[in-house]
Each structure stands twice: as C-alpha cells, then as structure tokens.
Symmetry: D3
Subunit: 142 residues, 6 copies
C-alpha cells in the first residue's frame, strides 16, 4: 500500500473517530455549520474533525466531562465566546451539571477575572433556556 | 456568635457595600441582568457583588474615576467587549469626560494596538447616543 | 517655518499617505464609519489614518498581501473579530486568494488553537457571500 | 457586634479557610513568597488568601483535582507561566497524575495552540525533576 | 519646502517631543537598550519614540500619573511582563505612590484575575528593592 | 490491513513528513529538547511533530517564508516569548531577511501594541548575536 493510499485510509479512520467524538459531545446537530465550512474549503472541516476531535478529544486519558470543563474554562479565559457557547452546551450534553458549570464560572473569576464569569453566565443562561431548564420568569423579569 | 452566623452577617455587610459601590458606578439599572444571574444560581450574583464590587471597587485607595479609566483600558485590552460597554457607561456616570475617554482610547493604541481603539470608539459612540450626546447626523451619515 | 506649522503640514502629508494606503486595502467605502469616529472626536480618525496606515501599513518593507495575511493572523489570535472581518475583506481586495486565506486559517490552529480557525471560517464565508463567491446553497443548507 | 468587628472576625475566618485550602494544594512552603507579598503591603497577601483561596478554591462544588486541571489549562492559555508552574506542582500535590497532566497539555493544543503545550511540558519537566521523578538522563541528553 | 524636507523636520520635532516624554517617565537611563534597538535597525527606536511617546504619551489629555496607572494595568492584563516592569518603575518616577500601585494590583484581580496581581507584586517588590524602599529583611526571610 | 496497522503506518508517514518540515525551518538542532519532551511522555513529541508540523506546516498552500512571518506575528501578539524566539531563528533559517523581520515588528505595533515590538527586538537581537550578525559594540554599549 502506498503512502498516498495509507494516508487516505488513515484519514478516513481518524475522521470517523473524530466524528464519533464530536457527536458524543456536541450532539448530532451542526450539520449546516459543517456544510458551510466544507463549502469554503473541504480541508477546513476535515482538519477540525481529524485533529481537534480525532487526535485530541477522542484520546482516552481524560474523561469527557473533565475535558469539557477544561475546554469551557480555556475558551472563556481566551474570550472565544462563539466557541464557549457551543462547549457549554457540550458540557451539559455529556452530563456536566448546571451546578458544576456554575462552580466553573466562579472558579474562572480567580484565574481570569470576573468578565469571564459574567460572559459565561449569559451563555449558560441561553443554553438552559434552549433546553427549557431556565424559567422565562427567572431570567427575563426586566 | 458562631462562624456560620458571623459569616452570614459579614456577607450581608460585604454585599451591601458592594451593591452601593456598583450602583454609584453602574447606576440603579441592571436589575434584570442581576435577576437573570441569580436565576442561574444565587451564588453568581453574590460573588460578583461581594468580591468585584465589595472587596475591590469599594476600597478607598484609588478614586472612582481613575478606577473606571483603568477598568476600561484592561477590558478593551483583553477584548471583553460586553463588559467594556458597561464600564464606558460607568465611567461617564462617575464623571469621566468624553474627552478623557477619547484620550484613553488613543492611549490604548500604544500598549494594546489599534483594534482596541476602534472597538472602544464604537462602544463610546453607542454610549453617547444612548445619552443623546452624539447627534444622529454626526454618526449615522451612511 | 515654526514647529506648529511644520507639524500641520506633516500631519497632512502623513494623513494623505495613510488614507491612500487604507483605500488600497479596505476600498473606498467606510466613509460612514470614519465620519462616526470623527463625530466622537476628530483626533481618533486622524490618529488611526496617520499612524496605523501612514506610519505602518504604508511602509515599503513588506508587500501588501503579506501584510494582510499577518494582520488577519494576529487579529484572529487576539480575538479582535470586528477588525478581523474587515481585514479578511482587505486581504481579498489586495489579491490574497481564497485558498491562501483557508491555508492561513489552518495555520492558525497550530499556533493559536482551533477557535481562531472556526471564527475565521465564518468571517471568510460572510466575506465571500458579500462578493457572491459562495453559493447560498453551499453554505446555508440548514 | 459592630460592622467593623464582624468584619475582622469574618476576615479571620475567611483567611483561615483560604489558608487551609492553599496549603492543601500548594503545600506548606511558600512562606517567603507570602512574607514578601506582605512586605509590599499586607492587603495583597490577605486579598489573595481570602478571595482566590477562601472564596473560590475552598468552595465544595468541584473536587480539588478537577480544579487544578482547569486552573493549569487557564493559566497556560493566558500565558501566566509563573503561576502555571506553581499550579502544575499543586496538581501533582493533590493527586493529579503525570499522565493526566500530559493529557491536559495535549488537550490545550486544540483550544489554545501548541505553544501552550510546549511551555507546559517544560514546566512539567521541571516539576518532575524537582521531585526526582524525571531521570536526569531522560531529559538532559544534549 | 518639499514633502521630504517637511517630513524630516517633523520627524525630528516628533522625536524630540517623544524623547522628552519618555525621559520624564522612564528617567534618563535606558540608553543602552535604545542603542541596541538602533543597532538592529534605526527605524525601530525612532518608531517607538515618535509614536508611542511622541504621538500618544506626550498628548495633554490625561495626566502622566493616570497614564502610568492605566499602562501598568493593561500590560499586566496582557502578560507583557518585561514592559510592565519598566512602567512600574515609570509610575514611581512620576509620583504614583507605592500604595496606589498596591491598589492597582488589587483592582486588576477583579478584571484580569489574580495572576496579574501576583506577577505585579513581584515586579513592584523588585522596583522597590532597586530604590532601597523595601527592606531586604522584609522580603527575603526564606 | 487493520485500522490499527494503518494507523501506525500513517502515523509514521505523518511523523516523517512533520520531522522533515520541522528540520527545514528549525534546523537539525533541538534534539535535546525533543528528547526531554519524549522523556515526559512520548505522545507529546509525536503530537507536536505529526500535527503542528506534519498536518499544518508541511502543507503546500503557503510558502515557508510567509508561514514563518505569520507565526512570529501570532506568537508575539499572544506573548508566547519562548516560542517566538525559536521561530525568529526559524524565519532567518528559511531566508526571511533581517529587514523583513524588522518590518514585521513595526507592523505588530499597529495591531498588537508596542510591547510586541519591544519584546521582538530583543529576541531578534539575541538571534542575530548568536549568528554573529550583530556586532557586540552595536548592542552592548551600556
């Protein structure tokens, strides 16, 4: 088998593994967003799935709940709001509780300042609303 | 008095002091945003008021105008746009002048680059419009 | 000629050179945004044009295509989304190809993480749509 | 009991709790560093112990091992090398394994880029050497 | 007078003004560091003096003490340790008191996290030691 | 061929390609640093070579000189000094000229502030000294 052929086979395998890891965390949705990425260039979506998911998140060394807590902490610290929203949803998907996310947000204040908590609370509130787990009366009284 | 009781009393005192400091800077508004924060978890709002406001901003060592200028500078440098908008309003509330905020934005270009100024100008323009201090003709000619 | 007079003449010259450099990259548009900036304070727009454009971008030491690639990389790394959107358009204006921008986004993943690529893809997709270079069917199938 | 007295009592309690939390993670050392901090101004050390440790790290909502993994991730992402070194030691102190820290470093590459891993590896290598858990032959063959 | 001549005259004027502003803040030292910068390329040092100092710091809109407080806050938030050290010295030079710098460091914890304070304390301690204003016994008891 | 076998073969191929790309940029040195990384855990070095180098830098879409300029810009903006030093050397290795690096540093001032230039000048000066291309007299006159 030539390098080229091996490479294609392996990429498929790595892509498959990454896709599985991503679906477990982010859910089956996101097809439109991935299609949009492929529309710009197919390598973008493949690179994301193979590397961020297949080569990193799919590794067994840390459980998926801990990974998501770390990921949300890093994304809020770096101000990657768009991605933090997705991974707060991802954290809830894999069983991180609302209280654990609250605790993470308070933890972030010590190491990255209060703005990370304030932004994170808004993203968490939106994620809970989308799941019907935050009563409108609770959060929209003004 | 037990530790538990002392703690509750002290928290009340710290909360009261923080609430006062926050109202002086951010104005009496924001009730809905704070209720939303409490709806996610009461500790979030209490931690914000007791610590960021009661333990830090309420301290006497720097006057409130200087604090707000420093705060806006840090928030723009870190790209915390959501919070920067609030504190540009806060700065105007405590008597920082429009010209001083302009000067801060120009100062930021040297230490954090032009994008901090460009973002800051837009946030300042919005704050001035909300106060009726930027003529629509001035800023919306296109 | 007094210092004051020299200064005014030079500022005009630096402003003219910066304005030319900016128009070459960002196109003739943006008049409203610049008017809005001047409405807040004239020094803001002048400082931007004279320094960021006249004293930096107008220098001959790097070609404009390379400058735009570096600029987009830095802006995505720092999370300056507002400015990154403008310079992705600027890059396309000066002849950076879609494939080169795709390559830049993949490059960013190694040095600043995947969120920079994910944000960059969305900004690039919007820029391509605005130019009619991304078929709606390609990117909006969901 | 007056506010002033309550405050002093509560501060003592919060300081005591923070000191305990800090010692559990960072070990009994660091006395010189804390004395140096007090020498500059006593409020600095008290603010650190009462707030970062007493009000945040001492909270029960997340176990200490998960907290340290999140903390190291955030510190590496933000480039706080000085503090990251301390918390890599702290993580090892509370039972995070070498393999879990390795996994964290690989995880960081996806969300904050490879430089965070490269810096983290060096800090981890130094921490392991200080504990005699990295053979000199292993790391100094050149 | 041609553009070229005007430009040279103006640059001299802007350089002179920047040099004066820089000396007022940073003191007469730093000649070696500036010579080193010129040795790499003369434009580097000229760009620094003319722009960061002549076009920004020399502006009258904010007093120099407030400017230095803002500058140190931004530099600590962005993790520019090398520069933060210089400007902590600069702040002391222009009359910012030790207590005001302490207050700034505590303020930074709310908006950028505790690592900025911890790093800032060490830099302030070193600056005070260099001035003989921090007793060795105070800071080196371990 | 099973997935496991394919994977091993592909990893070897990707590692080989990454190693080649890395050597072209960073030179044949760095063996000790890579051995140290492997001593902490073999996956660390393999992940770096396969992904940052094999999957990203080895791609043909951007020439290696442009890649290095972008990389140095991003690393200085993010304050990754350790890595920036390595890639300034890498840029010189692949034919980026001293004047182009100077231009890059001036460019960084507009988009990330002067501290990135000041740090970059020091790293460039050290790289030039190590190559004997900066006369000691030039840079050490104080």
């Amino acid at each position: 088998m030539s390098d080229e052929q091996t490479s294609a086979a392996e990429r498929s395998e790595m892509y498959r593994r990454g896709d599985e890891a991503r679906t477990r965390v982010m859910g089956p949705g996101g097809a439109a967003r991935r299609a949009r990425m492929r529309a710009v260039h197919p390598d973008l979506e493949r690179h994301l799935i193979e590397n961020a998911w297949g080569q990193v998140n799919a590794r067994p060394g840390l459980d998926v709940r801990t990974r998501e807590l770390i990921t949300v902490g890093i994304l809020l610290a770096l101000g990657r709001e768009r991605e933090a929203a997705g991974h707060i949803g991802g954290a809830l998907n894999v069983g991180v509780t609302r209280d654990e996310l609250v605790e993470l947000l308070i933890h972030c204040t010590a190491y990255a300042g209060f703005p990370t908590m304030v932004t994170g609370v808004e993203l968490l509130a939106q994620a809970l609303e989308a799941r019907g787990e935050l009563a409108p009366a609770e959060g929209s009284s003004s």
